[in-house]
């Protein structure tokens, strides 16, 4: 599985320069942030005003972080595919595992904040 992934990655590198990948990554991040930043700020401000529902809003923030991750990866793929429509399958093979891993990491971080950090902060 790992070999297949590395082969896809090499193939992707042949289709796109590092500069193109970096540009797509930055563009996707900025656009995902433009969309999700107000959502994060709204949720944080609601959390402060409705602090007695802190866990509910923390869960919503975790969901928002996962959405951010999905939006980022979809935009990233969109830019790459638009530049070279034939590589959609390769782009999917490379970005989907990364998206799954980052989703998992964000989920774990969110659960740590929910069950470990919040009880410590609320001393």
């Amino acid at each position: 599985m790992m070999k297949k992934y590395i082969a896809s990655l090499k193939e992707l590198k042949q289709s796109f320069s590092y500069k193109a990948l970096f540009d797509a990554s930055i563009g996707a991040f900025v656009f995902a942030l433009i969309v999700m930043a107000p959502v994060f700020i709204v949720l944080i401000q609601l959390l402060v005003v409705f602090m007695y529902k802190v866990r509910t809003f923390t869960i919503l923030l975790i969901v928002a972080a996962l959405f951010f991750n999905i939006i980022y990866h979809r935009l990233f793929k969109q830019v790459l595919i638009k530049k070279n429509g034939e590589t959609k399958a390769i782009v999917d093979q490379v970005t989907n595992p990364v998206m799954l891993v980052t989703t998992f990491v964000l989920l774990v971080l969110g659960l740590v904040i929910l069950f470990v950090m919040i009880p410590i902060w609320l001393v």
């Binding site: 656009f31 107000p38 401000q45 638009k82 902060w121 001393v123």
Partner: protein, 350 residues
């Protein structure tokens, strides 16, 4: 980036102004104060006493905190408007000249004084039956308020200790109450303070021409000498300020020192400042604290009851319970002193 900007150019064009308006609502602060329910904070997480370490405390003792939001954004203000438990008010006069950071500092100083008072009252109470317990403390005076016209405003920090004052004819006084008698002109006079790192510094300060005062508010308190006090204790840094946890902090420390578990397995919470004689003082944010306690299903909630006056906390709490359809007979307990709360918990064990 350019591809995305091109793809979404129509969305960017039409949503740009609404987006800016939304950001404005989310960041622009207004001169109001929002107070809403907060949560419970277990005192054990704040103070750890090296005594009875093998004792099993079955219940819990928690302070109740509310969210006080000075200068909320317009969005937070609107959210508070739709929160049926929140109170919206114009920023209190005594906060208007302070930044939000300074308001937090004042709140933490309040809590610092409260925790020291709680340690003193709890240790003294338990030392009556256990001579092994030793409490030692000293009187201190700290900077608790600064007028906006105060000279060297930025150099004097909240919580700095007042050390001495050099008055007329170079007379040095170490009591704040004596300053008036030796400062008959507009100055300048020399104040000596000690900051929280223990470094002393001296500043020349004149009285303000308009008000005729220096512009510093001091507060007297007792600071526990942790070296000579037994048993030793540790305080954990806290994100929650204010003095209203005093009663519950005292109960929890007492419980850590006593042989018996006064919680009897119950979830005990409450509110009320603690005075050095063990009496309890009034608090603010009664509505929000009652709602917080109710949301957290506490078994016992102590609240100050100092008399049948309209502003009494207990009477206000009863009114809140009735207004929100909350049954209060079984868990809302009025107390006037630390001893009242202790007696109530001891009766539960009988």
């Amino acid at each position: 980036m350019n591809e995305l900007a091109h793809t979404y150019r129509h969305a960017i064009k039409y949503l740009f102004i609404p987006y800016l308006i939304l950001l404005f609502l989310l960041v622009y602060p207004i001169e109001y104060y929002v107070q809403s329910p907060g949560g419970l904070s277990e005192v054990e997480d704040l103070i750890e006493v090296d005594y009875n370490l093998d004792k099993n405390i079955e219940g819990s003792i928690s302070t109740t905190f509310v969210m006080g939001i000075p200068r909320p954004t317009i969005f937070m203000f609107l959210a508070g408007y739709f929160n049926r438990y929140a109170d919206l008010m114009v920023l209190p006069t005594n906060y208007q000249t302070y930044s939000n950071e300074e308001i937090s500092q004042i709140s933490y100083q309040d809590k610092y004084i409260s925790v020291n008072a709680a340690i003193i009252v709890a240790y003294e109470a338990i030392s009556e039956t256990n001579p092994e317990i030793i409490i030692d403390y000293q009187a201190k005076t700290m900077v608790f308020g600064k007028a906006n016209y105060l000279e060297h405003y930025a150099d004097i920090a909240f919580g700095d200790e007042f050390v001495s004052f050099k008055g007329d004819n170079d007379v040095i006084v170490t009591e704040v109450s004596a300053i008036g008698g030796v400062a008959t002109t507009s100055g300048p006079y020399e104040f000596t303070f000690k900051n929280t790192e223990g470094t002393e510094y001296t500043l020349s300060i004149s009285k303000n021409a308009e008000s005729g005062v220096f512009g510093i508010t001091f507060k007297n308190y007792y600071l526990v000498d942790s070296e000579t006090t037994f048993p030793h204790y540790r305080l954990t840094d806290s994100n929650i300020g204010g003095p209203s946890g005093g009663l519950l902090q005292t109960l929890s420390i007492y419980n850590m020192l006593s042989e018996e578990d006064i919680t009897h397995g119950l979830k005990v919470a409450g509110t009320g400042t603690i005075n050095y004689d063990g009496s309890i003082g009034y608090i603010g944010g009664v509505k929000q604290k009652i709602i917080t306690a109710y949301e957290n299903n506490v078994d016992v909630f102590f609240i100050p009851y100092l008399g049948d006056v309209s502003y009494d906390n207990y009477l206000e709490a009863v009114n809140v319970c009735e207004a929100y359809g909350i049954e209060h007979e079984s868990w809302l307990i009025p107390v006037a002193s630390f001893q009242d709360a202790l007696d109530y918990l001891e009766r539960l064990g009988d």
